[in-house]
């Protein structure tokens, strides 16, 4: 259930809605589309209040994750349902759904259904497009093609898109704005880059998959300021870090991305303020061309994401003593 969800998406922007399963992402799209009732709040589209406006008068397109193609109509009938036959053909050709013409809905695969559902929504040339994981069932090659075609339609027509996805790569590629839902409310609204660099809370950091999230106490240090953010000291979970964040004192989280942790066999020299943590390698997990190296330090562990070549060059293996260095600016305190 959604409790308090407030955000604004500018005309022509691509917004991505992220959040764990059950966070209310689909419900949010349905409320905006007007097909699900809500007890409180206001919805404005194109600057006008549409809270009481019927779905058919909101001029938007919606694509459900499972497509919900009309089973009693064939592919052409589905795509042309809300538009003319010419518009349906154009939309289908654009994203490659025209190859499915003549097929019955029952014979389509999950990916093909999504393609037809997308074409059906695009055929009506909506000002606003609500997408609920529309590319999830497509095979990787088709996904990339369709994604880029929908992105070009969005740019050409100035369509505003609100897109629910679980795919962080997709969110980073397409999104101008990311909205993270959690516990019935908005956990963060930020650009995807800011979301991954500066999550607003430990919950968001955990959700976006940042490797190192520590819980503890944050205290301000006098004098060190960097714009709106201040250098702060963090203590917790057997680790002490200097990081940056908005001036605050009290419980909070220290967030460090794995690729910002530099491993060396001896402490590094450098002028910028660093956190230097001595430890031993506990575990090395390969993840494609990268390796995740878990280093036990103090009462906790910190994970570094390094190339496999670095692992080989440094001779890293379990029980090897290493130094993990993290720039203060790479420690996000929230």
């Amino acid at each position: 259930m959604l409790a308090d969800v407030t955000f604004a998406l500018s005309r022509g922007q691509w917004g991505v809605v992220l959040g764990p399963a059950g966070a209310g992402k689909t419900t949010l799209l349905e409320i905006i589309a007007g097909v699900r009732r809500h007890s409180k709040g206001r919805i404005a589209l194109r600057g006008a209040d549409v809270t009481t406006r019927r779905p058919e008068a909101r001029r938007l397109g919606m694509v459900y994750q499972h497509g919900f193609l009309f089973p009693h109509l064939d592919v052409e009938g589905n795509i042309a349902y809300g538009s003319s036959a010419a518009a349906a053909c154009a939309a289908a050709e654009r994203i490659g759904a025209d190859a499915l013409f003549g097929r019955s809905v029952a014979t389509l695969s999950g990916g093909e259904r999504q393609l037809v559902a997308l074409a059906r929504a695009l055929a009506t040339s909506p000002d606003i497009l609500l997408l609920d994981e529309p590319f999830a069932a497509l095979d990787p090659r088709r996904r990339s093609l369709v994604r880029s075609e929908v992105a070009s339609i969005h740019r050409e027509r100035g369509t505003t898109v609100l897109h629910v996805t679980h795919d962080f790569v997709e969110a980073g590629l397409l999104g101008d704005l990311a909205i993270v839902l959690h516990g019935g409310g908005v956990a963060q609204v930020a650009t995807p880059d800011e979301l991954f660099r500066k999550p607003a809370s430990g919950i968001v950091a955990d959700f976006v998959g940042i490797e190192n999230v520590f819980r503890g106490m944050i205290e301000s240090r006098e004098g060190d300021t960097d714009g709106a953010e201040t250098t702060l000291r963090f203590t917790g979970e057997g680790i002490e870090l200097i990081g940056v964040g908005r001036p605050t004192c009290g419980p909070g989280h220290a967030v460090v991305r794995g690729e910002d942790v530099v491993l060396s066999l001896s402490p590094l020299d450098g002028s910028s303020p660093r956190n230097v943590l001595a430890g031993v390698v506990r575990e090395i997990a390969r993840d494609g061309v990268l390796s995740r190296v878990s280093v036990a330090t103090g009462g906790t562990s910190i994970t570094a994401v390094v190339t496999r070549r670095s692992v080989e060059e440094l001779g890293l293996r379990p029980d090897v003593a290493v130094t993990a260095s993290v720039k203060a600016t790479a420690v996000h305190l929230c």
Binding site: R36, P55, L60, Y64, H72, Y81, S83, A106, L130
Partner: protein, 267 residues
Amino acid sequence: MSARGAERLATAGVIAGASLLLLLLAIPIGSLVVRGGVAGVNALAADVELRNALLLTAACATAATFATILLGTPLAYLLARDRVPGGVALATLLELPLLIPHPVAGIALLLAFGRQTWIGGVLGRAGLGIVGSSTGIALAMLFVAAPLYMSAAREAIARVDRRYEDVARTLGDSPWRAVRRVTLPLARRGIVAAAIVMWARAVSEFGAIVILTYNPKVVSVLSYDRFTAYGLDAALPVAAVLVLLALVPLLALRSLRAGASPLERSG
């Protein structure tokens, strides 16, 4: 006893129970058809009263069914989509006629719409009096059989995912246009099946009709009349025809199920 022996015993018990039930159902119907079937089919050509009764029964059942489809389908939709305040209470009320003994249903109809009532007077002046008329027969059939239609049609509509309509709305349809273009076609087989079941139930009605209208006679009343006036042998052809008539909706239902899509079969 070993586990295998117990399993065999259980299987034998199930087969014996099922056979007994089948025999209880099949023997009376079978003997009726065997003893009266040929005479019944022959009577169709010669017996004018039987032919008229058959036509009256079919016409009244059809009228009652169409009236229920027309008046009841929108309500079935609203109940299926939980859009009626007190929907559960209303649905229960709609099923109540199923539980009332049918002669009692006839008495209730007589009390509500008989000649001595205000409504009955208005209906009588309009030539639609319910006593001794085909209007009364159709009304009695509607009263006892419409709950079957309402219940099955509501379920058929509820099986159509609301999100099909939602998609149609975002594609520009008004609520009723979405229902007409999406929900009703998807629920069509279920609704037709509901109508067939209602029609079949209406055709076999006796108790409520006989209270309102003994003449003109529907087939069930004619069968009873021949039995009481002339005995078993005279009633047999009529009864056999009624049984054969029941095969029509049964076969229609079977063919509907055979042609159903997986979505409709699974719900």
